[in-house]
Symmetry: C2
């Protein structure tokens, strides 16, 4: 079993690293920013000081941090992972970040004689805890096969989608579909409710047909029951749609409804909802209609 | 068993009436516009001349015609159903038409001592043939219970959603969700494909998570395989989104993404695609990006 370095033991990273420890992997992190989570230390988590030291001690280095600048800092900043790498190691970024920056990161890691995989996940905290994450991977086939046993401890639907950056592109595509399906359900429920229909019965009727989706089931119910605790926070979905809209501009693609969905999230954030679940997007349409779904 | 009058034996109405004949119902139609389908005559379909004569001969009168003006004409035009009704009969409009006009139609039928149900369907020609239609019903409970055995010969998911017009409102809500989910999948696949990802692998990866829907499965595949034979024609979905946008204006609701989806359908129609499947909405985004998904 290869030694795993794990940088970023937050809400997602902690349970993911926990599964690796449970499976018998040696897992190493850095204590230079914060002390490691006690429950992981109890499971055998080891610590060194600094990202370079993690890279020296591990065969495979996983990063799971908030956004593109943090990955850049962890990998290429002062005392970064890159400065501790030696030939043959594998860097796996499981954060959700820019596909464009990812191409550069991969090239810089490859230039050191190491492999790079972009492997963002979906499924959230629930999926991380249940080891049922969807993992969308970009990179070379042999690096993917090397990482597969590690991925299998953390997720269920594990797909090599294409070369480096395509994992991140797929995650962005996922977040487009999720946001726009939430927006679709929200438009339908606000319309139906203001027309005098019972939104719960409408949702039930729609679940039987072509409109059926996991979003209609889960997020539609949250809109009706007014349970907007995250789940997945609007401010995180804003970050993901920003990646989509930045990417659209640089690629030359028009994403009209993604653009509108971002404006509706912006309206939610402006009204104090940045930390609510993304299903609370419905509130922006409710304000526009002067009418709540339920 | 009650006698059924059936007006509108087109692509949807013919197989629906066929199921009623197969179940042993006496079914009557009018020959004043066109001769009745031969296969239904073989099954025992009877004919009279004129809509009023159908209403006189039947206990339950079903209409299945293209749009609001046709329902108005069949019910209240010269020699219309209304002029042949007597107390205690039941009129069921299974067309997909304006919820607002439906309220008026129901009131006028009620004033004649008859019940009215709005009962639009989803599931298309395939669902009509397989007797697996989703039926969304607006009206009184007792009228619904009277109609239920008839509905059960034609559909599977049969829901009384609320009072008159709410069946049509639910159908509009359904068409909003379907159009916007198609649009969501189209934005995601155009983005991913232009970024260099294989759209088939992206679709596969997304099917495992929160982005999963029947639309991603069925229409996503059509976009990738370029199979745009209907299915459900863009010109029909334009009609349905028009009902949504008209309704939004009169109710006071903002439907930003429904509005954009209609513009994309308009672009498809302008480029000769009015009779293609609604999954061909992707072509409008492809033209904007100068890049096809596959």
């Amino acid at each position: 079993m290869e030694n795993i370095g794990f940088i970023g033991l937050g809400i997602m990273g902690s349970p993911m690293a926990g599964h690796l420890l449970d499976a018998g992997y040696s897992v190493i992190t850095t204590d230079h920013r914060s002390p490691p989570p006690a429950d992981l230390v109890d499971k055998g988590l080891k610590t060194v000081t600094g990202n370079a030291a993690v890279a020296q001690a591990a065969d495979i280095i996983i990063t799971m941090v908030p956004d593109t600048p943090q990955v850049d800092e962890v990998l290429f900043g002062e005392d970064g992972v890159a400065s501790g790498l030696s030939k043959g190691k594998l860097v796996i970024d499981m954060s959700s970040i820019s596909p464009i920056a990812t191409k550069t990161f991969a090239q810089k890691i490859n230039a050191l004689g190491c492999d790079y995989l972009d492997a963002p996940v979906s499924g959230g905290e629930v999926g991380a805890k249940a080891a049922s994450l969807t993992i969308m991977v970009g990179g070379e086939e042999n690096a993917f096969e090397r990482a597969r046993p590690v991925f299998e401890k953390m997720g269920k639907n594990i797909t090599l989608v294409g070369p480096n950056s395509v994992g991140q592109t797929t995650k962005v595509a996922n977040q487009i579909v999720v946001a726009l399906t939430i927006e679709a359900v929200a438009e339908a429920l606000v319309f139906a409710s203001k027309a005098g229909a019972d939104p719960a019965r409408v949702r039930q009727a729609l679940m039987g047909g072509l409109a059926a989706s996991r979003i209609l089931e889960v997020h539609g119910e949250r809109m009706i029951r007014r349970t907007f605790d995250p789940g997945f926070r609007i401010e995180l979905h804003q970050k993901d749609l920003n990646l989509a809209l930045e990417g659209a501009r640089s690629l030359g693609v028009s994403l009209p409804n993604t653009s509108t969905a971002q404006q509706l999230f912006n309206s939610c954030a402006a009204n104090g909802g940045a930390k609510e679940d993304h299903s609370a997007l419905v509130r922006a349409l409710e304000r526009m209609a002067g009418h709540d779904v339920a």
